[in-house]
Symmetry: C2
Subunit: 209 residues, 2 copies
């Protein structure tokens, strides 16, 4: 088994935290995104979509999506459950994970990729070039503000994002909040519930992953 | 149990097809998106995010995301499996479902919502207004073209999107392809494998849902 990672990128960090919470170690290969290694013939034979993370199983099957990889390890190593137990909890966790991704992670990506000088024509990850759209960077910044408010309201009456225990919804939210911080969109002072939660999940050893 | 639906909208259609494949009937309430019923006080008490689909369980829990709802029914009614069986198939199905959503469904939404006169300031679903960005409509159209090519290449050597059997990855792809057609982005003539697959999955009774 081989895990294709990039230590500085937010998408594979979702998997690294997930593995750390499960206590699973996987042989890891670093892909140098800064120098375009994801576009090399060698890496595109692993993932034609030219993105990390990717997981190669011993039988040759490749799983080329962060959540897809988490689904694999949740089924192989169910303890501790990070995607819920029973129909209702599984559904609630999936919903909050997706909401954090759609309203948060993708919004930071919009803000960051459409404004960073080094990412000209790389407004989206993947094999195709797309020009930066300045209005989209601005929209992304607005959306991240709404995301902070939405999560603050949620965490005012919930210990963790999806309920009473730590799940993959917390992982997506943590990676999103930290990615936003790097993009100069920190948690606003007034979002005290989101700050409480962020301090709490950042203190877990897995957050260093 | 109550399913909040809108018969003309693509997101809840994903759930309707999923339920039809499972042979499950759920009491359904239509939400009139065209007249803004999703923003009513009544509906926002069900889903503050102001989107359909939403599922309300008998204990009052609400699941406010299409895939979250499918996760619920997959756990309650495992047969026929639409999200894979065993760690590897589950992971591959989740990955293709997400790839179709990210590269396809969201791309059509970009093209459609940023150019439709009736959706001025509704460039994204949800409670917040965002202005249309013409350059984003254009980018969405380009992305849909790449999506058609990517799925055509995949279906050249796979009967269904995620492998040898029909899954939720086919549902997302079918809803995306039909949504693109409505947005005047039909499958290109030369994508013969995607056309073969589209005819095949459209002939299933569930496609009428």
């Amino acid at each position: 088994m081989k895990f294709y990672d990039c230590a500085t990128a937010p998408s594979p960090r979702r998997v690294r935290i997930f593995l750390a919470e499960k206590g699973i170690g996987v042989p890891t290969v670093q892909v140098d995104l800064r120098n375009g290694e994801q576009f090399s013939t060698q890496f595109r034979a692993i993932n034609p979509d030219a993105t990390v993370p990717a997981l190669e199983l011993d039988n040759g099957t490749r799983i080329v999506d962060a959540i897809g990889i988490c689904v694999y390890f949740e089924a192989m190593h169910p303890q501790p459950p990070l995607m819920g137990e029973g129909a209702e909890e599984k559904a609630v966790v999936a919903t909050w994970q997706r909401l954090a991704e759609r309203n948060g992670f993708y919004a930071v990506m919009e803000a960051f990729r459409n404004s960073t000088p080094g990412l000209k024509n790389r407004a989206l990850p993947g094999p195709h070039d797309y020009a930066q759209i300045p209005a989209l960077a601005e929209r992304g910044r607005l959306r991240v503000g709404h995301f902070h408010e939405q999560m603050d309201a949620r965490l005012a009456h919930s210990e963790f994002v999806a309920g009473a225990r730590y799940t993959i919804a917390d992982i997506t939210t943590l990676v999103t909040v930290d990615f936003a911080g790097r993009a100069k969109l920190p948690i606003p002072e007034e979002c005290s519930h989101l700050r409480r939660w962020h301090a709490q999940v950042s203190a877990r050893p897995s957050a260093k992953a």
